[in-house]
């Protein structure tokens, strides 16, 4: 896989010791990492690990209670304009596919003339042209997510955050979305995506962040993570073991007992 290296207006993102508290519970705990340009980062972890929260914190939808997030690039002051996000449940405006695309571009103050061209282009590239006039909410879930990603891509983001974009989709739709994400990645956009789908992580990741109960337990290159994860919980996660047990009861992986095998 060829890595696209390019200079970025906002990256890298320096995350220094952030915590996020909601309802008296610390949901993200003392997390530090750097997101740099050119590679795609996949956030792995079981439900409730804090994957979605971390994405929202990075994108600025939430503010950490402690610690700092700093964009290091020259355009850091207007970092929002260089980012886009796609949510697990696609947010579709009650209007046509085309109008949905126009809306996002208009929000970023793109002129009408430019919008018309961009909308046509993105419909073409993402294969949505035949659905252009359809009300967005009449699309299938897979098509809606494709539109949501197309809409985000049309903003030319340098960083695209995706929160489990295929969690509600069947394998065919998932495949289509993964191809789309791969095209976006090849266009030079940094992908930061959460998933609990290991196969998907293998297919898309350059780097992997493994989150568990609000802590970053492993931050590694994809090959290294999938072949030799250092953290015992990451090992268990990769083996498909559920992570419901308490940490102090953990045994080395060789001593795991499978219920089927006596």
């Amino acid at each position: 896989m060829g890595e696209v290296m390019q200079s970025s207006s906002i990256l890298p993102l320096e995350i220094d010791n952030i915590s996020y508290v909601a309802g008296g519970v610390r949901l993200i705990k003392d997390l530090s990492l750097t997101l740099s340009a050119g590679t795609s980062t996949i956030i792995l972890g079981p439900n409730g690990a804090g994957k979605s929260l971390l994405l929202r914190l990075c994108h600025g939808l939430l503010q950490p209670n402690d610690g700092t997030l700093t964009w290091q690039g020259p355009e850091a002051a207007t970092a929002g304009r260089y980012q886009a996000m796609v949510f697990q449940r696609p947010v579709m405006l009650r209007r046509s596919v085309t109008a949905n695309l126009h809306f996002a571009l208009k929000s970023r103050a793109v002129s009408k003339l430019e919008r018309d061209k961009k909308v046509d282009d993105i419909l073409e590239i993402t294969g949505l042209t035949r659905l252009a006039k359809t009300p967005a909410r009449a699309l299938s879930t897979g098509e809606q997510q494709r539109l949501a990603i197309a809409r985000a891509w049309s903003l030319n983001p340098e960083v695209l955050f995706l929160d489990e974009p295929t969690a509600n989709l069947d394998p065919a739709a998932t495949h289509a979305i993964e191809e789309l994400i791969d095209s976006i990645k090849k266009s030079g956009t940094k992908i930061v995506m959460s998933t609990h789908d290991l196969g998907q992580a293998r297919r898309l990741a350059d780097n992997v962040l493994f989150l568990y109960r609000g802590r970053l337990l492993e931050n590694a290159k994809a090959e290294q993570f999938f072949e030799k994860p250092e953290n015992d919980l990451a090992q268990a996660f990769l083996k498909g073991e559920l992570l419901w047990w308490h940490r102090r009861e953990l045994k080395p992986p060789s001593e795991f007992k499978h219920p089927e095998k006596p």
């Binding site: 929202r56 929002g80 304009r81 980012q83 949510f87 947010v91 405006l93 209007r95 929000s107």
Partner: protein
């Protein structure tokens, strides 16, 4: 009993002939209510949407107040508008008391809180769904309010029709500020009240039937609009 059936027959004749006196009353009713709904919507729709979207000090108080105002007693509103518009009142010099304009003002005050409060509720639901995405796009405040109103247009149509229903059925406020003057401020509801007390059941009943039909068609329209919108936009 024959009194009643006679009156009913006379009422139907009145409606079928639709003579000028009746037409005048129905026309003024519709005109007053329509303008009042328009004015209340112009204020109430953006106010409701803004209350749903923006967080500012005093917002909760305003929402509670608005919800309370939904149940404003019409006669009290009539009394207040009367006091303000009467000769010795602050706006007495305008000479608006006992004119259709006074009735429009009273009805606007009555239904604006209804439209604003219902708009706030339905917009808040939609905002829950849209807020993160809009924040991510960087959508401006005015664009946000306009978009929410537009995307909620079919739901808001029901809200506006509810306001229209309340306005056209209301009697207390228009009676006080309008004065029920023949050919000037006489509307359906005030005529019904007057004719009933005079014992002219035919006219009262005829107007009552028209008012009922109006209420029914307004509700039917609201239902149909919602249904077709659900089918088209989900």
């Amino acid at each position: 009993m024959s009194d009643f059936s006679d009156a009913f027959a006379a009422a139907l004749t009145l409606i079928i002939n639709f003579e000028s006196g009746l037409a005048e009353i129905v026309g003024l009713s519709l005109q007053v209510s329509f303008v009042a709904v328009l004015a209340a919507s112009v204020i109430g729709l953006p106010l409701g949407a803004a209350l749903a979207v923006f967080r500012f000090p005093g917002r909760v108080t305003l929402v509670v107040l608005l919800n309370a105002l939904m149940g404003l007693p019409p006669v009290v509103v009539g009394l207040i508008v009367y006091l303000i518009l009467s000769r010795s009142g602050p706006l007495g010099t305008l000479g608006l008391l006992f004119t259709p304009t006074a009735m429009i003002i009273a009805q606007t005050i009555l239904i604006m809180p209804i439209i604003a409060a219902l708009t706030r509720q339905s917009t808040a639901t939609m905002w829950d769904e849209y807020s993160e995405q809009f924040k991510s796009f960087g959508t401006s405040r005015s664009e946000t309010v306009l978009t929410l109103l537009w995307d909620n247009r079919f739901g808001l149509m029901t809200t506006i029709l509810a306001g229209f229903g309340r306005a056209s059925a209301e009697v207390g406020a228009v009676m006080i500020v309008g004065g029920n003057i023949d050919h000037v401020t006489r509307v359906m509801t005030t005529t019904i009240a007057l004719e009933t007390s005079k014992g002219d059941l035919a006219l009262a009943l005829g107007l009552g039937i028209i008012l009922l039909c109006l209420a029914l068609s307004v509700n039917a329209a609201a239902y149909l609009i919602n249904e077709s919108a659900l089918k088209r936009h989900g």
